[in-house]
Symmetry: C2
Subunit: 306 residues, 2 copies
Amino acid sequence: MSNSVTVHAPATIANIVCGFDILGLALQAPYDIMEVSLKDEPGITLRSSAAYNLPTVPEDNVAGASLLALMEAYGKPVGFDVYIDKQIKPGSGLGSSAASSAGAVVAANHLLGNIFTKEDLVRFAMNGEKVASGVKHADNITPCIYGGVTLIRSIFPLDIVPLSSPPIYVTVVHPQIEVKTSDARQILRKEVQLKDAIKQWGNIAGLVSGLLKNDYGLIGRSLEDVLIEPVRSILIPGFDEVKKQCKEAGALGGGISGSGPSIFMLSEQQSTAATVEGIMKNIYDKLGIDYKTYVTTIGSGGVKIM
Amino acid sequence: MSNSVTVHAPATIANIVCGFDILGLALQAPYDIMEVSLKDEPGITLRSSAAYNLPTVPEDNVAGASLLALMEAYGKPVGFDVYIDKQIKPGSGLGSSAASSAGAVVAANHLLGNIFTKEDLVRFAMNGEKVASGVKHADNITPCIYGGVTLIRSIFPLDIVPLSSPPIYVTVVHPQIEVKTSDARQILRKEVQLKDAIKQWGNIAGLVSGLLKNDYGLIGRSLEDVLIEPVRSILIPGFDEVKKQCKEAGALGGGISGSGPSIFMLSEQQSTAATVEGIMKNIYDKLGIDYKTYVTTIGSGGVKIM
């Protein structure tokens, strides 16, 4: 049993347009790099790269809160030293907190001899999401740990369904503006029209079918959100233009990543994904908003032990 | 080109518990028997078995209204003579009107040399559903024409997705009470809680995944309806007891067929489906309500040309 491990914890896209709170996918890049070591004395020490000021009190840190849940389940005295080299910017809508939470518990589980299941690890890491956003959601945590595309059929009790998918390229733009997950949740209406909900679950069923049947056309037609996107996209300058131009350029479709502000577009071909990146850059250049872009794929396997 | 054809138009189960307005499946039995012939003069004549008083004015008859839509698309003068031997009781919640509508247009299309696609036929037959319930819904029509399990991702524009499924036994009880589709629609709330809608689309995504992945356990866990069933089941005496006892006996799950009053239960094993039938009979015997039961399977292929 090694005393130290390095893991790569990938960025994730929650919701995948129509699957609010139930669907998510893991990206090949970007990812956080985390080094986790067993300590001689019980407890958690947290350090992070200079770029971000992450909390160092375990209870206030998403990785720390997740590890505390794991340590409680472990039941014996154990201590971890955690170093986070954060590559996924907090507040990007790309599952930054989920990466820290998931990375920490996958690494700790490795150091303890893989005594916990992936589902256990999701449960532990959900405590990190509670710290980050006040809600124990799992739609970033789950793809981060399982990789690929994942469905959370139910959160209480937890019921995770890994979904296969055909090869898909993902282009992401992260406009450097701030949208807090808690704000993005608060602007949602608590009641929705039944007729809109029916459209939404038609699209969710279509998207799941499209992924499992390798039907790119169906995936594209199903990437429609009549409930959440119309409200949340108001917070993201350039959103409508990005979506319109990228779809005209051949992208299957896309939308807000998680609660934003990042926007993602899915493409069947790598060349389309590259064209889409150019469109995104052009739009935010014109708007005078700083941004970062990624051209990547859906990542398999989740958090990687290096 | 033959001048006359006999078809079997199967009963169907709309919604499949959680998939309100988007999912449906065809049954192996019961089915209506329809004889459709080309007439020398344009127009439609309608006759039916003595058991039911079906309207004979084409515009008021579901098969007639569906044929009128087909004839309009055909564009040339043509006439049909239709005889319906109705086996699926109107108002059973087993897609009786859809069977007449679908059977008529499939038969007519056969007589005209199969010039229309299945999707065209669904569109024509939706006019029959309009006559029957005031709404152009397609969740019975589509499985009746396609067979198996079908998803309607979107109704306008029409987007039909046939779904594969593992072998599944279906037990149906039709308590002989009246529930009108229009009434069953009216008691539904027009607004729903977002949190309930999320549960519902988690289950829909789970059911679609379970069917496509041949995962009986997942199918069973997904057969949960938090929105429609709690309201509609009030109209069906014995519902809660049927569901509880059948699940205890090993059924995967089940619920209201369409808008009721029929109740269906899905089982992995034929022996379970038979046990379930016994439970249903026992409950309605005790309640003193007349009933009819069926033990069958999901039917492939839809309306059959005999």
